[in-house]
């Protein structure tokens, strides 16, 4: 309850506040459903924000980050919604999942389900 209260407060205060150095020590969370009326973010646009960890098209993976490419839509949606609600605990993904709307998660699921499950260009790091 306490947690909800804090986020509720942040939601009220942060909505009209531009990012500034306060964001360095404070916590900001705006319920993404507030943006539901905005022009939709495409599945690819949203999915591309995953690629720094999960690789291009969700096809680069390693000890920590699993592939996302080729996941059945329903699997991806369930996983993200469980991360979002906290039903499935994760040090990293709980906060990340909470930043997307349900519709954005569905569009990302659609995008990833259409990507080849083959690893991205298997090639060891090319050193200079």
């Amino acid at each position: 309850m306490k947690r909800l209260g804090l986020y509720g407060l942040l939601l009220l205060t942060s909505h009209f506040v531009m990012a500034d150095e306060n964001s360095f020590t404070g916590e900001v969370y705006v319920n993404p459903e507030q943006y539901q009326g905005d022009p939709p973010i495409s599945g690819k646009m949203a999915a591309d924000t995953c690629s720094a960890c999960h690789g291009t098209q969700g096809r680069i993976f390693n000890e920590i980050f699993p592939p996302l490419a080729g996941l059945p839509k329903a699997t991806f949606i369930k996983m993200m919604m469980d991360f979002k609600t906290g039903k499935r605990p994760s040090f990293i993904m709980n906060n990340i999942a909470r930043t997307y709307t349900q519709q954005e998660i569905e569009r990302m699921a659609d995008y990833f389900s259409r990507q080849s499950a083959k690893p991205w260009f298997v090639k060891s790091e090319k050193k200079a």
Partner: protein, 430 residues
């Protein structure tokens, strides 16, 4: 049977070949647009790659003077012994696979009316769309006694990874037992906000083993910093922070910590509160601005950063010009965000080439940082755009101060940080 033109067929083959990992062969039409990208760093290379992945009918040129790129993310590890080659790439692979024209040169001037660049060697390069991702500009003359020459030789910044990273590493190694290193972060915003503190934390960890009486003093232009609670907590646990045995000391701007003057001969710095501090290594990080090329060509309009429409990162000053990365007016400057911005620009240019409006962008900055080999942290940050302006929709750091100690989480996030760097390098260059 459906009619399919030769060009379409070749395009399809091109798209298919990428799945298999072979080079992507573009099929240029007569009217194929010329996209010129200035800067072969994270922003520039991700723009080139992500544009090619969705468009095989566009000429992509990257202008970058260096032949080897050194990633900044991870380069603090090099200061304490990691091999720099782990963080380096050549451009050959990207050039071949994404069919880029690489030009090893520096851009001297931009003629926006003629849509033409002039390079240092006198070459003229025409563009239809120009993407500027040249990294930050550095200011040296706001610290008395400092200069670019000193910054390249003795009073280093190591804020562009590469040669200086190795020079600073050697300075740290050569410190006498019980020596002092000063690290001076510039005022926000600057490239990678947690990095000066990460650097201090890594060197302190290294000193515990190699120079146990050595000391780091952070002389700050800022009243606070990202991950401050987490770093201070860690330093209290490990570095006797706040006691007279501390191996890290932090003097905030509120305490007058900003460096005003440096004396390279006597190796002293003077700070705002009047104190003079002697050190064996002085690492000043210069104030960041937009790159000088953007200042010179009027894209900053006398301000520190190039004004952009955050809907598609297009310049508010010149048509068909996009500015991304450290030079753009964006609240926070990180490699993660430069990559997101590059992806947004790639999609925006592709849309425009098809007479469509650029789609709704999304920028996230999901940063993983380390305080030491046993303490990782994460920042989850989201920016949404409304009417060309950014809105901070989320900014959460973990471990939260309310969270109980979790040794497993601390270690897990270190592994996550290292693996993120590896995936990220591949996302940019493979």
């Amino acid at each position: 049977m459906t009619q399919i033109s030769r060009r379409e067929l070749l395009k399809l083959l091109g798209a298919a070949s990428i799945m298999g990992g072979a080079a992507l062969r573009p099929v240029y039409g007569k009217a194929a647009a010329k996209v010129v990208i200035v800067g072969g760093g994270i922003g520039g290379m991700i723009t080139a790659k992500y544009l090619r992945l969705i468009n095989q009918d566009v000429h992509i040129t990257v202008i970058e003077p260096d032949s080897i790129y050194t990633f900044c993310p991870g380069s603090n590890d090099v200061l304490v012994g990691e091999s720099i080659s782990d963080f380096q790439r050549t451009y050959q692979h990207s050039k071949d696979r994404y069919q880029l024209q690489m030009i090893a040169d520096r851009v001297k001037d931009i003629d926006f009316n003629r849509k033409q660049l002039k390079t240092g060697s006198g070459k003229k390069i025409a563009y239809d769309y120009l993407v500027l991702s040249p990294g930050p500009g550095f200011v040296f003359d706001n610290i008395a006694g400092w200069s670019k020459e000193l910054a390249d030789s003795k009073i280093l910044h190591a804020w562009k990874a590469g040669k200086q990273t190795l020079m600073l590493r050697d300075q740290i190694r050569a410190m006498p037992q019980g020596g002092v290193m000063v690290i001076a972060p510039p005022p926000m915003p600057f490239r990678c906000p947690p990095a000066p503190y990460e650097r201090a934390s890594f060197v302190a960890e290294w000193m515990a083993q190699h120079n146990p009486r050595g000391k780091i003093i952070i002389l700050d232009n800022n009243p606070g910093f990202v991950f401050q609670k987490q770093y201070i907590k860690y330093w209290k646990q490990r570095r006797a922070y706040g006691t007279d045995k501390a191996s890290i000391e932090w003097i905030s701007s509120t305490q007058g910590g900003a460096v005003t003057q440096v004396d390279a001969r006597n190796m002293t710095v003077r700070i705002q509160n009047g104190e003079t501090i002697r050190a064996d290594v002085i690492n000043l990080i210069p104030t960041n601005t937009a790159n000088r090329l953007l200042i010179r060509t009027g894209l900053t309009q006398g301000k520190d950063w190039a004004a952009v429409n955050h809907h598609d990162m297009s310049s508010l000053v010149q048509k068909d010009v996009y500015v991304i990365g450290d030079s753009a007016d964006f609240n926070i400057k990180t490699g993660y965000l430069a990559a997101d911005q590059g992806k947004v620009v790639a999609q925006a240019i592709h849309a425009r080439l098809h007479n469509q409006a650029p789609g709704q962008p999304l920028y996230v900055n999901d940063c993983l940082a380390k305080a030491g080999k046993d303490f990782g942290m994460t920042l989850t940050e989201t920016y949404r755009e409304r009417e060309g302006k950014l809105q901070l929709a989320q900014s959460i750091q973990r471990p939260l101060s309310s969270e109980p100690e979790n040794t497993f989480m601390r270690h897990f996030l270190v592994a996550a940080a290292d693996n993120w760097q590896r995936s990220f390098r591949r996302d940019v260059f493979d």
